[in-house]
């Protein structure tokens, strides 16, 4: 509030036409009496009208520029950037969702392919096993057929052989008896003897 005393003091000379230096000693600050005025320059009322006028002109012009050009422009730049960032974020989240969906599809397909491969392998294994089993069964049955045929033949041959054993033995026995005693044994005796031996043997 030190404005008021100085203000009051220079009020009187300021109205005077001649800005003589007679007051400057009272204001206490104006040592520079040599360059006119004599009052402390900021309190020199004679400059106020001019300063106010030019302040109104320049400040008013500045305000109009700011209001009509600068503020809308900078506001527009900031808004545009804000919109652009929001748009980019939306785009990014959309792409992320797409990527997630692609990953999910891929995973699903992979799982499907895996299970399919498993089932194919299982089926192949099953069919191979079945074929092997069938082959084995066929071979086994063939073999057992052959075996049984062979057994039948052996039994047949055996039976035939057994049947012939008696005759051979009788002939041999009659030949042996004939050679040993030179007499013919009767056929009935030899047959009885052979049967007895057969039973014993």
């Amino acid at each position: 509030m030190f404005v008021t005393p100085a203000y009051a003091q220079e009020k009187a000379p300021a109205h005077g036409a001649a800005p003589a230096g007679e007051v400057h000693t009272e204001t206490g600050v104006a040592h520079g009496a040599e360059h006119g005025g004599g009052v402390f320059p900021p309190f020199d009322q004679s400059t106020y009208a001019s300063q106010l006028l030019w302040l109104v002109i320049t400040f008013g012009f500045f305000y109009l520029i700011m209001k009509n050009v600068i503020v809308p422009r900078v506001g527009g730049i900031l808004e545009h950037r804000h919109d652009r960032i929001a748009q980019d974020l939306d785009e990014a989240s959309r792409l992320k969702a797409e990527a997630d969906a692609a990953v999910a599809t891929y995973e699903k397909e992979l799982a499907e392919a895996r299970s399919k491969a498993g089932s194919i392998a299982e089926a192949a294994r099953e069919s191979a096993k079945a074929k092997a089993a069938a082959d084995r069964a066929a071979i086994e049955s063939e073999l057992s057929e052959k075996l049984s045929a062979a057994e039948a033949r052996i039994a047949d041959i055996k039976a035939k052989a057994f049947a012939e054993v008696g005759t051979i033995a009788e002939e041999t026995a009659s030949a042996i008896v004939d050679r040993l005693i030179g007499a013919k044994a009767t056929a009935d005796d030899i047959r009885a003897a052979v049967s007895a031996a057969k039973v014993e043997g």
Binding site: G32, T47, S50, W54, M66, I77
Partner: protein
């Protein structure tokens, strides 16, 4: 002349203009008002002319100052106060540019003239009054009646509120004016010590180092003050505008 610390505030006529006995001359003060507006408007205009999505350095400075004032006004006066944004932004840029221009040697500091700062303060208070009464009519007078004050104290409080309201243009203008004036005078005085001590010979040159360091430090401080006072002016403008927008909101 060079040792007179008030010489830098001297106003002289460049183009004398007299209308009806009133001196309306184009002076060095007028010149620096034009220069201030040209610098501030020119900077903001050319810095933002590319409208780049990714700002250049200059453009980000312009955007930064815009957002700085916008957030200040939004905090101070709410979203309804944003209609005053061009005014506050203009005031801030004008005062800041004027203060910074004044830091150049031999440049005139227009904010060191009480009439300029007082006119700017009156503009703010005038806006508050005109808008307040236009928008709220007599309800604007609630600004002087804080809520929740007991009836006996009310006359006293209202008187205090009125005085504080009336002192606002004075405090707003004197704060800026006095800071710029005092800072520039101090700088000049210390710089003058350097010159006069330096003239005394070898011992004087040794003694001049201290005021030289002071001058350098004060220059830094004055740059801070130049910004700070523009900031304070803008913040107080936002607070006062808040009264115009929300008169009951004490």
């Amino acid at each position: 002349m060079s040792n007179d610390p008030t010489h830098q505030f001297q106003i002289f006529k460049i183009v004398p203009i007299h209308v009806g006995g009133v001196d309306l001359s184009f002076t060095n003060a007028s010149l620096f008002m034009v220069a201030t507006v040209a610098c501030a408007a020119g900077f903001l205009y050319f810095a933002t002319s590319a409208r780049s999505l990714i700002p250049t350095r200059a453009q980000s400075v312009a955007e930064l100052s815009y957002e700085f004032i916008a957030s200040m006004l939004k905090e101070g006066a709410g979203s309804h106060g944003m209609k005053f944004f061009p005014l506050v932004f203009t005031l801030f840029m004008f005062v800041l540019t004027a203060n910074l221009l004044g830091m150049f040697p031999y440049f005139f500091t227009i904010t060191s003239q009480i009439i300029v700062t007082f006119a700017l303060a009156l503009l703010v208070i005038g806006t508050v009054l005109v808008y307040g009464f236009y928008k709220h009519g007599f309800h604007f007078l609630q600004v002087f009646v804080p809520s929740g004050v007991p009836g006996i104290l009310l006359p006293l409080v209202v008187a205090i509120e009125i005085i504080s309201f009336l002192s606002r243009p004075i405090s707003l203008s004197v704060r800026l004016f006095a800071n710029m004036l005092a800072g520039h005078i101090t700088l000049k005085v210390f710089a003058g010590f350097v010159a006069s001590l330096g003239a005394l010979g070898a011992l004087g040159i040794g003694g001049a180092i201290l005021p030289l360091i002071m001058t350098v430090a004060l220059t830094g401080l004055e740059f801070l003050v130049a910004f700070l006072q523009a900031y304070v002016f803008a913040v107080l403008t936002c607070m006062y505008l808040n009264d115009a927008v929300h008169p009951g909101g004490h």
